[in-house]
């Protein structure tokens, strides 16, 4: 039926528009890639299942993040307690800060491409290796023929450089 088709279209459009934000949100809370992908898939499934309750014109991102948060909690529950690094309190604090800082974080993320471009080529390559598929720190170290410790320190430094660049970019834009 055409109505159903347009509803599917609407869902696909909204999901596509918000997939990056959802991925980043879930990843922020579970902190590693494999788990983030798993939780995101479950989230997408629930979003589709519950899409009938979503009212067109209201904030899809906010609704989706609420669903995602519940999925993160459900995922934690399924995990063994002793395998969890952080408490529920900690996670809830992180989630609510992510929510409160939402727009600022979006702007920081938007500044990321510019900051990556400013990195020296070898540093950018290190980031690419680390964040592409199978990019464990050991694999990266092997590729660049450095020790694991040195690679670790280099990646930490680069991330902090990027963080500072993004914050500076924002501060400059806000002054402008």
């Amino acid at each position: 039926m055409s109505d159903n088709a347009s509803r599917v279209d609407e869902f696909v459009r909204l999901l596509a528009q918000n997939q990056r934000r959802l991925f980043v949100y879930v990843h922020t809370l579970v902190m590693n890639h494999a788990d983030a992908e798993e939780v995101l898939q479950n989230t997408n499934l629930v979003l589709w299942r519950e899409f009938g309750t979503f009212e067109t014109g209201t904030n899809f991102a906010a609704w989706a993040c609420r669903v995602a948060f519940n999925q993160v909690m459900a995922w934690r529950k399924k995990r063994q307690r002793d395998r969890l690094q952080f408490s529920d309190d900690f996670l809830t604090a992180i989630a609510s800060e992510t929510h409160d800082a939402g727009d600022a974080l979006e702007e920081q993320t938007a500044a990321l491409a510019g900051c990556l471009a400013k990195l020296p080529t070898d540093q950018r390559e290190l980031i690419r290796l680390r964040y592409s598929e199978e990019g464990t720190i050991e694999a990266v170290a092997t590729r660049v023929k450095r020790t694991v410790e040195a690679t670790y320190r280099a990646l930490s430094r680069i991330r902090h450089t990027l963080h500072e660049c993004m914050t500076r970019t924002l501060a400059r834009e806000n002054r402008a």
Binding site: G52, A74, S132
Partner: protein, 477 residues
């Protein structure tokens, strides 16, 4: 502190955090908003970098990355394709068997299986489900008094419930319409959605249809678009109804239905008139009509000029008793015989007393048989000189009156129309020698005595509501 936080953040994202370090990080994050923000920004960066590796515009390998900061990173091609592929798969799964998923782990959002999306202008009677727009709905009952309520099931089925109606929700794929009307629109995702009625079971096959249940047993089904399979409750026979078709299902039969031929439903006197019959309406506002009420304590009589107040108090509070007196000018009926008659009172809130302190109540209408007493005065009528009156909130003088009928008012209900339509009423009207009739309305049910509610009915002086009104089907001139 920032150095410490940096170390902790790096260890977090690389997964090398020791138990001591994670305790320390929790401590900092929970105690200090600035630390919390710093950590969130760092985790956000980590996540964004992971996402960005799929985005060729951000991770240009040859150093040709765009130097302009991009306003918003677009979703990468390969992720979008992945989402699309996933949605197609999800649609198939949902289409095949939604039910398999309905019982899955439930985050707060998914409690229940439907949502009340619109209830503007709705009035509700006591059901077991929330009636606030936006409320999640699970198993339970909705009783809609008036208005149109919109419900959306999680599988996409949309119902518009038209009051007055009584709907029971069974699960995410099934509901029962006990009374009233609804229009259902079921997208493909809700294929196989069931609407049960007392006489039939409707299985939706991707469509839009209307169903109406009357008398608690007759179901009229009208398919607007698509196809509905209706199983007749008694015979088990399945009728496949396509676009434009309609059928009426009673407990014993299933017949074709032409919705255009259906007339308006008239619950009151207005059954179709036979030749020689006519409909007569007489209210207290017509001719020599009059209405007022008397109270146990005379100075309580003028607490309302537009309402007829009625109350049955506890014996020790007898001064708060109130009874309504209604006089109707029957001149129009001269020479005619009433075939049927309905006397109607329209309730209005009085704001006097607590409705919680009065249970479901019975009201009785008496006719004044002693016609010499019809000459009572609207103004200045007192408890003591009111014709046919007797002491007590519910009693009248049995030698001067006759009981004509009763109606019920549920606890807390302060508006609405109540009627008496009995053979005794017709008989009473047909045996009047004078062209006049006096009625007494009393409440049989006493309140608690703790400032209990005083019921009110519109009098002929009420600015908007109709006064006590008699409708008759008469034969003759």
């Amino acid at each position: 502190m920032t150095d410490e936080l940096r170390t902790l953040c790096s260890a977090t994202v690389e997964g090398t955090l020791t138990p001591e370090q994670s305790r320390r990080l929790e401590e900092l994050v929970l105690a200090d908003p600035a630390a919390r923000r710093f950590v969130v920004e760092h985790l956000n960066l980590h996540a964004s970098l992971k996402w960005a590796t799929g985005d060729s515009t951000m991770m240009a390998r040859d150093g040709e990355a765009t130097s302009e900061p991009q306003p918003k990173a677009r979703p990468s091609k390969h992720r979008l394709v992945a989402s699309l592929g996933w949605v197609v798969a999800a649609c198939l799964l949902v289409g095949i068997g939604y039910g398999a998923y309905s019982g899955a782990d439930s985050p707060a959002e998914s409690r229940g299986f439907a949502k009340l999306t619109d209830a503007s202008g709705c009035k509700w009677e006591s059901g077991t489900l929330p009636t606030e727009p936006g409320a999640r709905l699970g198993v339970g009952r909705l009783r809609l008094a008036e208005g149109i309520a919109k419900l959306v099931f999680d599988n996409g089925a949309e119902l518009r419930l038209e009051g007055p109606a009584d709907l029971e929700l069974q699960d995410g794929n099934r509901c029962t319409l006990h009374a009233g009307r609804l229009v259902a629109r079921c997208p493909e995702s809700a294929r196989g959605f069931f609407v049960e009625t007392p006489s039939a079971s409707l299985k939706d096959l991707g469509t839009e249809f209307g169903v109406s249940v009357t008398d608690g047993k007759t179901s009229d089904v009208q398919v607007f678009e698509g196809r509905v399979d209706v199983t007749h409750g008694k015979t088990g026979r399945v009728e496949k109804l396509l676009t434009g078709r309609g059928m009426r299902f009673t407990p014993d039969s299933a017949t074709a239905l032409d919705p255009k031929s259906a007339g308006p439903r008239t619950a009151d006197v207005g059954t179709s008139l036979l030749p020689g019959q006519r409909l007569v309406t007489i209210s207290t506002a017509a001719g020599r009509g009059k209405d007022t009420y008397v109270a146990g304590k005379p100075n309580l009589v003028h607490s309302s000029d537009v309402l007829l107040l009625v109350k049955c108090a506890q014996p020790h509070n007898s001064e708060y008793n109130r009874k309504a007196y209604v006089g109707l000018d029957l001149t129009q009926l001269a020479g005619a015989k009433a075939q049927s008659a309905t006397l109607t009172f329209t309730q209005a809130p009085t704001g006097m007393g607590f409705a919680s302190e009065v249970p479901d109540s019975t009201f009785t209408v008496y006719g004044l048989t002693d016609e010499k007493l019809n000459d009572w005065k609207e103004t200045g009528l007192l408890w003591e000189n009111a014709p046919g009156n007797a002491s007590g909130g519910a009693r009248v003088n049995p030698t001067k009156t006759v009981k004509l009928g009763q109606f019920q008012v549920r606890q807390g209900v302060q508006v609405g129309v109540s009627s008496v339509s009995t053979p005794e009423l017709s008989e009473f009207l047909n045996t009047r020698k004078q062209p006049y009739a006096t009625f007494i309305l009393v409440r049989d049910t006493p309140g608690s005595g703790r400032n209990d509610y005083v019921h009110g009915f519109a009098s002929k002086d009420h600015p908007t509501l109709p006064p006590p009104t008699l409708k008759l089907v008469v034969e003759g001139k």
